[in-house]
């Protein structure tokens, strides 16, 4: 039975990993082979030409990596700054209609953010936040808020009330209680929110495309979409595109591997409440 389960696991992993592996292999094929039809699965030769082309593509790969990373980090900071206090308040303070407020905040999860993009864009344009990485981070934070609030609020609610009462008895103020009592046991949930905020921002395409209007402000997903139709009649430079895909995967995989221990615990603590 164990062997059967193991075989099933290997089969599933293979199905999941093969496209990624194929992407990496395509990125190191020589240019002509990467564009060949029908495609070859295993490279007949190795070349870093695709990465070289991507490195110099338009404003240069470093610019786009920097924009994506900067936006993602700012999104994480803004998300945590907003949702940690909000979730704390909703979980532990006696507020009128707080359940209703929580539900209303969660309702925004059911509205596709694409539907909000245009009004947000027009609003951002009035306050000068378009074509700005700060504006894009604000947009990504907005997308991420409901889910983050949901996870953190449930995690804070799961902290034993006795701990909070003991802190109050010892004279701790609200912020001290949050910092010393609520944050330590909810680190997994905070990491989960961080991870999701990072991945959402890192991969988000449509908002970045709508908000940004000059190439030096584009993020990696936008430039990959541009590179997708690099040649005439919508043709694709497959090698360069796969090199971009490979590079864009790396930070997500690294962040996930570093934080997965916390991530699993955090997601569960949010889910079981």
């Amino acid at each position: 039975m164990k062997k059967l389960v193991a075989a099933a696991c290997v089969a599933i992993c293979t199905v999941m990993l093969l496209p990624l592996l194929y992407s990496v292999l395509a990125s190191v094929k020589p240019t002509a082979e990467a564009a060949a039809t029908p495609p070859t699965y295993v490279p007949h030769g190795l070349s870093l030409d695709s990465y070289r082309r991507l490195w110099d593509y338009q404003e240069g790969l470093l610019t786009y990596l920097g924009n994506s990373a900067g936006t993602a980090l700012l999104t994480i900071v803004l998300t945590l700054l907003l949702t940690v206090p909000a979730a704390y308040g909703l979980a532990r303070f006696r507020l009128p209609f707080k359940e209703l407020v929580f539900v209303v905040l969660l309702l925004s999860l059911i509205v596709p953010y694409q539907a909000l993009l245009t009004p947000m864009f027009l609003m951002f344009a009035k306050v000068g936040l378009t074509n700005s990485l700060v504006g894009l981070a604000v947009l990504h934070t907005t997308i991420q808020l409901p889910f983050s609030l949901y996870v953190l609020r449930n995690s804070f609610a799961a902290v034993p009330r006795e701990l909070e009462e003991a802190a109050v008895m010892d004279g701790a103020a609200s912020l001290q209680t949050l910092w010393r009592i609520f944050i330590p046991p909810t680190v997994p949930a905070i990491v989960t929110v961080t991870l999701f905020a990072f991945i959402t921002s890192w991969n988000e395409f449509l908002g970045a495309l709508v908000m940004m209007s000059s190439s030096e402000k584009f993020t990696l997903p936008v430039i990959l979409a541009t590179a997708r139709t690099e040649t005439s009649l919508g043709g694709t430079d497959w090698g360069m595109l796969q090199a971009g895909v490979t590079i864009s995967i790396v930070p997500c995989v690294l962040v996930y591997l570093l934080l997965q221990r916390y991530y699993m615990a955090g997601l569960m603590s949010g889910a079981v409440k």
């Binding site: 002509a32 564009a35 060949a36 039809t37 029908p38 338009q58 694409q114 539907a115 245009t118 009004p119 864009f121 027009l122 344009a125 378009t130 074509n131 495309l209 709508v210 209007s213 000059s214 190439s215 936008v222 979409a225 541009t226 590179a227 997708r228 139709t229 690099e230 040649t231 005439s232 009649l233 919508g234 043709g235 694709t236």
Partner: protein, 438 residues
């Protein structure tokens, strides 16, 4: 009203509508100085911002911008490529919010929609009297004009033609200097090349690419006397025997095994790479394929002829490419017009377009030293004289959409045994419905 407009942004057409209703007043600069004569140099200083779609002729646009920047170091064009699938929406959104570039390249086929919506600066008075315009690509000028007002000039031109592999012609016992002059002749040649066996097929047919088909199969219909798109409400699409004749011709080609099986899934991603593979005897493609095929297959010998119709001597071509236009809200209209003057100047036509073996956008510039040294470019340039560009406000919905009636009709014709009259009638109904809503 505003809320309804915003929601409707989910469609391209509605996006254009929103931009049209929301745009701010034209900047004073855009209307001032209309009587100032344009030059090929910048009138002021500071960066000029320009958007261009990806997926077009990037190399050509890069070269043109580099040439302008070298001449105008105080007024360089800052070029931003926008993913081409998102370009229409991006422009509409930019115009709606007033955040537009100073000028932009636009797939010429979408120009009428923007002109009708009043989103482009009317350049008629500024361009009045330019002698260069009399020889500018007719296809471009047709779509750059709306209700007798002019909104742009050609940025670059792509034309379709019949590329044929001379090596395969020789192996099949055909005269490499005698390309097919009619579709029946093309069929005969294809049969002979396919008979060579192996991976070689006589013909190529992109089975899942609406754009590739209007570019290469559309001219076969035009050359056979047919009309394809409905220009507007009440106009009859798919008129003429040529439509059915060409569909029958293509169906027969598929049934005879003259195309690779894999062609059926071609969605445009690898279309441009097919001829250079050396495994295709003849195919309709564009001038951009000359350089590309040489890079892919340096030893391959090939020739270029006009896309033929059913009868010998008939031919046609699709003139595609981009226009340079000025979006409403542009703050540097005068310099955008100077950039247009620069593009159309004799020097740029020869020393930038022709030198890079790209088509000149003025027909009187075809006779130049670079083309004289390159007969293939001369051959493909002939397509400009028989080419045309469809004019309709609903080109995307009728023709270019992967879910549109044009591709649906072609796929039924190529790969099913459905009655062709029924297939054409269904497509005709769908196209008329679309045009009726324009």
């Amino acid at each position: 009203m505003r809320t309804r407009q915003r929601l409707s942004l989910l469609t391209v057409a509605a996006m254009i509508g929103v931009a049209g209703c929301s745009q701010e007043a034209e900047s004073p600069e855009s209307t001032a100085g209309q009587n100032v004569a344009a030059t090929t140099s910048c009138a002021s200083s500071g960066e000029l911002t320009m958007w261009e779609r990806s997926g077009g002729n990037k190399e050509m646009v890069d070269m043109l911008v580099a040439a302008w920047n070298a001449k105008n170091p105080d007024c360089p064009v800052k070029l931003t490529y926008i993913p081409h699938t998102e370009m229409v929406g991006k422009i509409a959104q930019g115009i709606a919010s007033g955040q537009v570039p100073d000028l932009m390249g636009m797939d010429l086929i979408y120009a009428p929609q923007f002109e009708k919506a009043g989103q482009l600066v009317d350049l008629t008075d500024r361009l009045n009297g330019w002698s260069e315009l009399s020889t500018a690509s007719k296809g471009h000028m047709t779509v750059a004009t709306f209700e007798e007002r002019l909104y742009g000039v050609p940025l670059y031109a792509d034309v379709s033609a019949l590329f044929y592999n001379k090596d395969l012609f020789q192996r099949a016992g055909l005269d490499p200097d005698k390309p097919p002059a009619s579709l029946p002749e093309l069929r005969t040649y294809a049969d002979k090349i396919t008979a060579l066996g192996g991976d070689v097929k006589g013909y190529y047919l992109p089975g899942n690419c609406a754009g590739c088909n209007i570019f290469t199969v559309g001219p076969l219909m035009w050359a056979s006397g047919a009309k394809i798109e409905a220009a507007g409400p009440g106009d009859e699409p798919l008129v003429g025997d040529g439509v059915k004749q060409v569909l029958q011709f293509e169906r027969d080609m598929v049934k005879a095994g003259n195309v690779h099986n894999g062609d059926r899934t071609e969605n445009g991603e690898t279309f441009h790479l097919q001829f250079g593979s050396g495994k295709v005897g003849m195919m309709g493609t564009g001038n951009f394929n000359i350089t590309l095929a040489r890079q892919q297959n340096p030893s391959m010998k090939f020739g270029i002829a006009l896309l033929p119709g059913m009868t010998a001597g008939s031919s046609a071509s699709f003139i595609g490419g981009d226009l340079v236009v000025v979006p409403k809200g542009s703050k540097r209209v005068a310099d955008a017009v100077n950039f247009m003057k620069f593009l159309l100047s004799d020097d740029v036509q020869v020393e930038v377009y022709a030198k890079a073996l790209n088509l000149t956008t003025r027909s009187d510039m075809v006779d130049n030293k670079y083309f004289q040294a390159e007969p293939l470019v001369q051959d493909v340039a002939k397509a400009l004289t028989v080419g045309r560009t469809p004019y309709t406000l609903t080109f995307f919905e009728q023709i270019n959409s992967p879910q549109g009636p044009w591709l649906k009709m072609l796929q039924r014709a190529y790969y099913t045994d459905d009655n062709l009259d029924t297939v054409i009638a269904d497509a005709k109904t769908a196209m008329k419905d679309i045009a009726a809503k324009s």
